[in-house]
């Protein structure tokens, strides 16, 4: 179809796999976790799901989840590539 103006379509990874931006990666210690959900709530990119799995393809490694976790159940670990 003839596209008359720049109309973009919704889709994941609109700006690529932002997971590659990370220097540090969040690692959840599910034992220590009390399932308060704050990490998921505060993740700017919404990459933590209800089961507290972090979508590492998109996690930018900001560290907010770790910082806000009341149980200190999330560690930020240096990415090695």
């Amino acid at each position: 179809m003839r596209e008359r103006l720049a109309l973009s379509r919704p889709g994941e990874a609109a700006s690529g796999k932002t997971g590659s931006w990370r220097t540090f990666r969040p690692v959840v210690d599910k034992e220590a976790c009390n399932a308060c959900g704050l990490c998921a709530q505060y993740c700017p990119d919404g990459v933590i799901d209800e089961e507290l799995n972090v979508d590492l393809e998109f996690c930018k490694g900001c560290g907010i989840c770790a910082n806000e976790c009341p149980k200190k159940a999330i560690a930020m670990v240096r990415e090695e590539r």
Binding site: G11, A14, G37, Q41, E50, C62
Partner: protein, 304 residues
């Protein structure tokens, strides 16, 4: 291992799970404005349109042909958001649609180059929600001062610290007597969610002003974004309230902060933009914070 899924929902139960922002945006890591937008869209739901003037939000959507936003987003010129939204809302009214029209604009696009169209639309009583996410500078162009930059803050155009006070957007908007206005902060997303819901239930011009800490702009480490927002509220730098049909309610976290505020220094210290703040400036800031709190407290008590 505990069953996390069962417990984790409690806190968020009121909030729809739907995300209207796809992974990923190109927002900086730790961007609080993107966090806010997540909740704004959760509250607004899919029958909503965002009108976005030039700002970080115009960029974080991603580059053509893909966008991370799953509601229609009308990107528009920097000074034009409120006027564009008011036209759109009339178009929807004319065709009997109930679609929410929401401006999501930065502080620069609101207090500087956009204040005229905002003021005009509010005076005319246009039916839309205007949200200003306030990172207190021009983020998109690399952190120049805006009218909303606070006293003393260093930006690339105020390398010696801003000599004048933060423009008081809320009092300006208040002067337009909108049926609903509120402040919010990215560190309190559920509060924001509720405010957006309430705003959208009211007809006429609504306004929400969100304090949105910005790691590269404020020069603090990305993980401190939520902490910074909480400190703003706890020190009284930022007061959370709602004003419905003129009636003010100060919200819980700020109520607490007003009783026993944390020291302002806790907020200032963590931010590179306030490096080398003079004691005089800090005093001035403190005075302004106190005046603001007192003014609001008196208003809530109905004294004025």
């Amino acid at each position: 291992m505990t069953d996390i899924s069962r417990r984790s929902v409690t806190n968020l139960s009121a909030i729809p799970k739907e995300e209207y922002i796809y992974k990923c945006t190109s927002a900086c890591a730790g961007c609080s404005s993107s966090l806010c937008l997540r909740y704004v869209l959760k509250a607004a739901g899919p029958d909503s349109v965002l009108v976005v003037p030039a700002c970080c939000t115009s960029v974080i959507q991603g580059i053509y042909p893909a966008t991370a936003m799953n509601v229609p987003v009308y990107n528009v010129a920097f000074a034009a958001a409120a006027a564009c939204a008011s036209g759109m809302s009339e178009a929807f009214a004319a065709t009997g649609r109930d679609t929410n029209v929401i401006v999501y604009a930065g502080d620069g696009g609101t207090v500087d180059i956009g204040i005229q169209s905002l003021s005009g639309a509010f005076e005319r009583g246009a039916n839309f929600l205007y949200i200003c996410y306030d990172n207190e500078a021009y983020g998109n162009t690399g952190m120049q001062r805006s009218g909303s930059t606070p006293l003393g803050a260093r930006t690339t155009t105020t390398p010696g610290g801003k000599p004048t006070a933060k423009k008081d957007l809320d009092r300006i908007v208040q002067a337009h007597n909108p049926p609903y206005m509120a402040t919010a902060c990215s560190a309190y997303p559920l509060d924001l969610y509720k405010k957006v819901r309430k705003a959208l239930s009211i007809k006429g011009p609504k306004f929400i002003h969100i304090l949105a800490p910005c790691p590269p702009g404020w020069r603090y480490p990305t993980e401190k974004t939520v902490e910074m927002g909480k400190l703003a509220v706890k020190t009284g730098m930022w007061v959370l309230y709602e004003r419905e049909f003129g009636k003010l309610t100060i919200n819980g976290p700020s109520k607490a902060a007003m009783r026993k505020p944390e020291p302002l220094e806790d907020y200032i210290r963590g931010q590179g933009r306030f490096k080398n703040l003079s004691p005089e400036t800090l005093d001035l800031m403190r005075q302004q914070v106190e005046q603001n709190i007192q003014r609001l407290a008196r208003e809530e008590e109905g004294i004025c």
